[in-house]
Symmetry: C2
């Protein structure tokens, strides 16, 4: 862990995207409970924030940067279960230990909260517990949407849906820099890097998007939505 927050490098154009610095309506993770305050902290690119199986002592809220959470099978296969962007909370478990590993995609700044503090608030205030529930069902919905994508959609459909989702979460400007590598995308969508790359090329040929400088992408919602089969 690094205790200093260093500015993003040129590579990490993502961190410079407007959506990464705007609107944190609340620093406190739970409405109406400003007594739950966090400590600022930073992680460098590719740094592990917590590992699967570790005691879940802290909860994290992203201020800037991006984080991925994943599971690894015994032979090294990896399934990324989520990407987390500024404003997102992650690392909140109801069990004793973390069920995923969390790593910073880029230079990332977070606020760290004590899990015990949140649980105590939830035990005393029904409205906090209800917010926990709402949050969990939101994640549940996301995981089930991913399951539909992985179980029943083609590579094109998965990638189209993925790009649309990333665009929305980054502000919906249709132009953005992907904060993750092709490998990350592949491990999120149940594909290989080669298939991701090839599919992006195909989409570009079909005029569904424009690539520039590797990570930077401009999408055409209309055509992409057609490819998404939706």
């Amino acid at each position: 862990m690094t205790t200093e927050f260093t500015p993003p490098t040129a590579l990490e154009t993502f961190a410079e995207h407007p959506s990464c610095r705007v609107e944190f309506p609340e620093i406190a993770p739970f409405k109406g409970h400003p007594e739950i305050i966090g400590t600022s902290f930073s992680y460098s690119r590719e740094e592990e924030i917590y590992g699967e199986g570790e005691e879940a002592e802290f909860v994290y809220k992203i201020v800037g940067g991006a984080v991925r959470t994943h599971n690894i099978l015994n032979d090294g296969r990896r399934q990324i279960t989520g990407f987390h962007l500024p404003g997102d909370l992650f690392g909140l478990e109801s069990g004793a230990t973390h069920r995923h590993t969390a790593e910073a995609l880029t230079e990332t700044r977070v606020l760290i909260f004590k899990r015990r503090q949140i649980e105590r608030a939830a035990a005393s205030f029904a409205e906090v517990a209800c917010q926990l529930w709402t949050r969990a069902t939101t994640e549940l919905r996301h995981a089930q949407d991913l399951a539909v994508l992985l179980g029943r959609c083609t590579a094109q459909e998965r990638i189209a849906a993925f790009l649309i989702e990333v665009d929305e979460r980054l502000g919906g400007t249709s132009t953005f820099a992907l904060p993750m590598t092709r490998r990350d995308i592949a491990d999120y969508l149940g594909l290989t890097v080669e298939t991701v790359s090839r599919t992006l090329s195909l989409m570009e040929e079909h005029g569904a998007l424009l690539r520039s400088g590797g990570r930077r992408i401009s999408i055409r919602h209309g055509r992409l939505r057609q490819l998404a089969g939706d």
Copy 2:
């Protein structure tokens, strides 16, 4: 909807399995809140319990039988997100509408609860809200395990993991009748019926399981676990 509970037919041997009739430690869905009581109701085989997009007015607890929840893509592709067995709660949403369709696999009896009643209890009692949270995270874990299976595992691994899970939930006796069709299994695991059938045949050849009469299966945990890659 049928208002009478008729006994399972010979086909529905599943419903006769001991695990389907034992232990309902509590009728009430939430600990310490016996005032939340449900109304008994029955559904016949393949009957829809609620549809995706409908207002989520009720919550269901299975007394006997089995239920599946699924999503359907515009072109008919189906992803089953879960199978629900006796003792399970389903249909509980935090949003206004149901995000899945629920259907009875066999003759199924449920207890129906008013969702408003549960939400009112959650708003007043933090412990109820915490139980909602715990329940949601349990479902979340399940959905993410499914995502790993769909995104990163082979047909053999998916089916092996599936059989082990079903066995556990049916009492862990290693011998049981699958309550769902091959099509249901396929739509849960992101495969086709043919692949499910072929893989089961392969597993039987390898001595990982024994089939009798279509749905009835006896599994060898050791060999199956090898195939599950775990």
